[in-house]
Amino acid sequence: MNTFDLSDNPVRELNQHLHGAVTGKVVVSNAGGKHSVAVGATGAHEVEINGNVGYYCAGMNCDANIQVNGHAGPGLAENMMSGRVHVSGNASQYCAATAHGGLVVIDGDASSRCGISMKGVDIVVKGSVGHMSAFMAQKGHLVVCGDAGEALGDSIYEAQLYVGGKVESLGADCEEKEMRAEHKETLQSLLDAAGINDMTVDDFKRYGSARKLYHFNIDNASSY
């Protein structure tokens, strides 16, 4: 096991270790809101971070399993490719922005722009998400057990959104969709992966793209 106390070890040493070939358990203490904690990991490291993290924790993660026991600042798991990131507290804005793959689970709330431009990642938020979440979301799934703020899924492409609570408003080109068997199956597997057993797929509604903005049309100009 490798340990990094960020109150006296710089973040640099931690990240350098996570870019190396030796994988295994890594425990990080006193995260202290530092930025770029555990970024660019390559390989199946098991990382436990104790304390709150600043910007871009787990950014561009490949394969590592990263557990944050605390809150996460902006851009958690941005552009993640694969692996798993779990935050026990809340996550700030742009959570999992542009992420291509893997699973991000937030036990608390996520802020605005959760899943912005997501490109294949799965995100499960046990609490609520803020405004403009899943903006221009391309691919992947966003599950929100609580409520979603204004303009959910604005300019969305092919990502699929599932919300258990209220949606304050839908963004341009986002609409409620029928929940078919295959969607229930996908949702169930995401709930299982996130360890959620106090809600069922029937508690959720599905949202996705109306695909009206896919080709420029002057009659939709006010939506662009």
Partner: protein, 437 residues
């Protein structure tokens, strides 16, 4: 038949203006096109070199050496890049350009020991394979962005803006979205792809500083990090880019090319390259960072004269887009018949967005793009870069400089009051720099 030579054309409502009003009325859509600004703006043509004479002596052409090499990114990066010539190839996306065109750019640049740059849409193996030095663009859309390619790059360019459209995002129209382009961008085939105008996970220079630190952490502090801005509030933008931790700042003037932007944006937003160079150099000097953070200038660079003037004003290197495409074969007379079918003519073609480029450059159509032979086109680009370099050296030697970076504002005079004011060099024959007290 009416004798048109008697007809008086309105300067305000010229024929292109009338035509545009008619087009707008018919379609209800603004004009989206490629290329750069087409109107006349103050440019390097308005400057001349003074050359050597009584008070300074020139260097002998061919015999006395005149260096052209440049190092980019030695402020923070462990592995700065060392280029043989101060002329780089600007970022142009695979998607906008065919894979053959990207490969040709890599080949031409590598033959001359300089760098090429990816673009919106990610890195292709063709261009990585053929490029000795490849700069990887980090754009708002993050299409095709992944840490593996980031680590394969020789430098990273964070794109904040582009000269053709400072403050604008991008649009790749559906007809150019082939299965390969769609796959790289994680989007369905054949739909219009909007590229965001703001980065998804940072806003403002303080965030950018943190973002750059993250990119450095991910790449173990090896790669030089460039910040590219469209020329607008250049003095402040460059100051903030330095503060945010850039190794290199790229300033792209308003006449810079684009693959697809609204005509109104291309022609009316941003400032020309000429005043932008001066504002950028002023910012670097004020911070005592001139030559420590390198400045790359682009937008309308066509000749060794443009290169030499940009360097004399204080740039470390220049970057070319449109001229490189022309060297590959864009707007060539050999395609005249096909340009005519598209309602245009060689020398005027600017519909890079539309996917039917007869030269096989700005297209994803397999038949059209197969017309461009990457080896021959790469050779033409290398020839052109070689001419730019020779011309730059010719001018530098004439001013008595043993390295092109020794050119200085002192070597220049302006032909117009505007250029004198914008470039901060005296109006020819006077000591007058308008606006300088």
């Amino acid at each position: 038949m009416v004798d048109k030579s008697w007809l008086k054309e309105s300067a305000t409502f010229s024929r292109p203006v009338i035509r545009e009003i008619q087009r707008a009325a018919e379609t209800g859509i603004y004009d989206i096109r490629g290329f750069g600004a087409k109107r006349q703006i103050p440019h390097f043509d308005d400057l001349v070199f003074l050359g050597a004479s009584m008070s300074r002596y020139p260097l002998e052409g061919y015999r006395e050496t005149c260096g052209t090499n440049v190092t980019l990114g030695d402020r923070f990066a462990k592995k700065p890049i060392h280029l043989d010539i101060p002329i780089t190839i600007a970022g142009m996306s695979f998607g906008a350009l065919s894979a053959q065109a990207k490969e040709a750019l890599g080949r031409g640049a590598s033959q001359m020991g300089t760098s090429t740059t990816t673009g919106d849409g990610g890195m292709t193996p063709e261009e990585r394979g053929q490029s000795k030095y490849l700069v990887y663009q980090y754009l708002p859309s993050r299409y095709g962005m992944n840490p593996e390619d980031l680590r394969k790059a020789d430098a990273i360019e964070v794109v904040v803006g582009q000269g053709a459209k400072p403050g604008g995002g991008g649009m790749l129209l559906g007809q150019k979205i082939s299965p390969r382009v769609a796959g790289m961008r994680d989007l369905p085939e054949g739909i219009d792809q909007r590229s965001a105008c703001r980065h998804p996970d940072w806003t403002g220079p303080d965030d950018l500083e943190i973002k750059i630190a993250e990119l450095r952490e991910i790449t173990d502090w090896e790669k030089p990090i460039f910040i590219k801005v469209g020329a607008a509030r250049t003095f402040y933008d460059v100051t903030l880019a330095v503060k945010a931790g850039a190794d290199v700042v790229v300033v792209d003037g308003m006449q810079g090319g684009t693959a697809a932007t609204q005509d109104v944006f291309i022609e009316h937003v941003g400032i020309p390259t000429l005043p932008a160079v001066r504002a950028a150099v002023n910012a670097l000097k004020e911070l005592d960072m001139h030559r420590k953070v390198q400045l790359i200038v682009s937008g309308g660079i066509r000749s060794g004269a443009d290169v030499a003037k940009a360097l004399a004003m204080g740039a470390d290197a220049v970057s070319i887009g449109t001229a490189a495409l022309i060297a590959l074969g864009d707007n060539n007379d050999t395609h005249e018949a096909e340009y005519n079918k598209l309602g245009t003519s060689a020398g005027y073609y600017d519909d890079y967005q539309d996917g039917r480029d007869p030269a096989g450059i700005c297209t994803q159509d397999p038949e059209l793009s197969a017309r461009l032979d990457p080896v021959a086109a790469g050779r033409r680009l290398a020839n052109y870069l070689s001419v730019l370099t020779l011309e730059t050296q010719t001018l530098a030697r004439a001013c008595g400089k043993s390295h092109v970076h020794n050119l200085e504002p002192e070597d220049l005079a302006a032909l117009t009051i505007e250029a004198a004011a914008m470039a901060g060099v005296p109006l020819a024959g006077t000591e007058w720099i308008p606006g300088k007290f």
